[in-house]
Amino acid sequence: MQQIINFVLRYKSFLLYFHLLIIALAFTVQSHSYHQARFFNSSNWVTGSIYETSHGISSYFGLSEENKKLVNENKRLQTLLFNSKTSDSIALDSTINYTVVDARVIKNSFTNQRNYITINKGESDSIKQDMGVITSEGILGIVENTSENFATVQSILNEKSTINAKIKNSNHFGSLIWDTKMYNVVQLIDIPRFVQLNVGDTIVTGAMSSIFPENVPIGTIKKFNLDTAKSFYSIDVDLFNDMTNIKNVYIVNNVYKSEIEQLEAKTINNDQ
């Protein structure tokens, strides 16, 4: 017994270091799996309020640029509205598939391997996990963690991110991933080799996911080549969004998402 106590006393700093390191590594490794980053995120009250305060000061510096973006978006939407065929009818509640909440980015990051963005809306604005986040220019990411007043968003610049995407005006879809190299280029994989591609083609979100609406813009094809198996393309996509400068975002919620997911889960269960 005496020897054990002596051992612990002699190596106490090493043991302390070892334990703390194991704790840190456990948090890190555990968080590699999907939706486990529960403890370490900036959506909690303390970090959220500090970022909110700092954002309150710095947000004044980009107002004119932000204003220009919003005017452009309004212009685009007005054009859509004037040219839509059913302009004289009012949409009924039952035809609404997506609800939209606006929010502001209070913390952005794009230099890490796993980038997260913090926004100033949370559970009190009925933001939940797995809602899609877009800007006026294109998609941004998916809500990962929420607290009362804040939420963290898993950016598309995150090595864990996979989003269903397709070539505009066709139904060939693939997965959008990020190779962590450049913050303005993401990769679209799993497009079959018989598809006709051109540099400059637009990539939009696909209809396969219940998170984003179909046809939300993502970017344009920068270059493409066949993967090592020579059967699928791997495409570099230039993002429409300037990921370094994002202020206003929209959170879209598919009203039927839980219904779709339940149905899909049931179908898979029945198969087994």
Partner: protein, 169 residues
């Protein structure tokens, strides 16, 4: 005297965390260089203090940075590592005499101080980026990030150090 001591370290801790997350995490120099100046806390921390408390405090420091920057527990792991190896580095840089009661960081030569700081930064960044990137394939990327960001951290730490050391004594 003693309360003053604790007070100074608490202020230092809070200010370094805030400066790190509100200023330096947004620097994005050349698109990816965000210096980690909070390492200065470990450089400034008194040598004669209780070692276990120092390790625990460093863990806490890393963890608070992690909370803000959504980096899981990467900062905590790397900071606790340099807290543990700090005495070894000091013995390497300053020789055995740092264990004497009269030893003071300010009484050493400039070259020794810079070497000490640089070694802390290199070990920290190497652990941090190895864990972040987590693959041997991209070892060159780890080295590239360690060298470039480490250099930026070193320069900024030296500037910060010279800014505040005069009023400290």
């Amino acid at each position: 005297m003693i309360s003053n001591y604790y007070f100074l370290n608490i202020i230092r801790f809070t200010l370094l965390v805030l400066v790190q997350v509100l200023v330096f995490n947004r620097l994005n120099f050349f698109g990816y260089i965000n210096p980690m100046v909070y390492i200065l806390f470990l450089y400034w921390y008194p040598i004669k203090e209780n070692r276990s408390a120092f390790i625990a405090l460093s863990f806490l420091l890393g963890l608070s940075i992690d909370f803000f920057s959504d980096t899981l527990a990467l900062n905590a792991a790397s900071t606790v590592t340099i807290a543990y190896v700090r005495p070894t580095i000091m013995r390497f840089v300053f020789g055995v005499n740092f264990e004497f009661q009269s030893f003071k960081l300010s009484s050493t030569t400039k070259a020794q101080q810079i070497t000490f700081l640089a070694l802390l930064i290199i070990v920290h960044h190497l652990v941090f980026f190895s864990l972040e990137i987590f693959s041997l394939e991209n070892f060159l990327l780890v080295l590239k990030k360690t060298v470039s960001i480490g250099l930026a951290t070193l320069i900024l730490c030296l500037l910060f150090g010279s800014l505040f050391s005069a009023s400290k004594e």
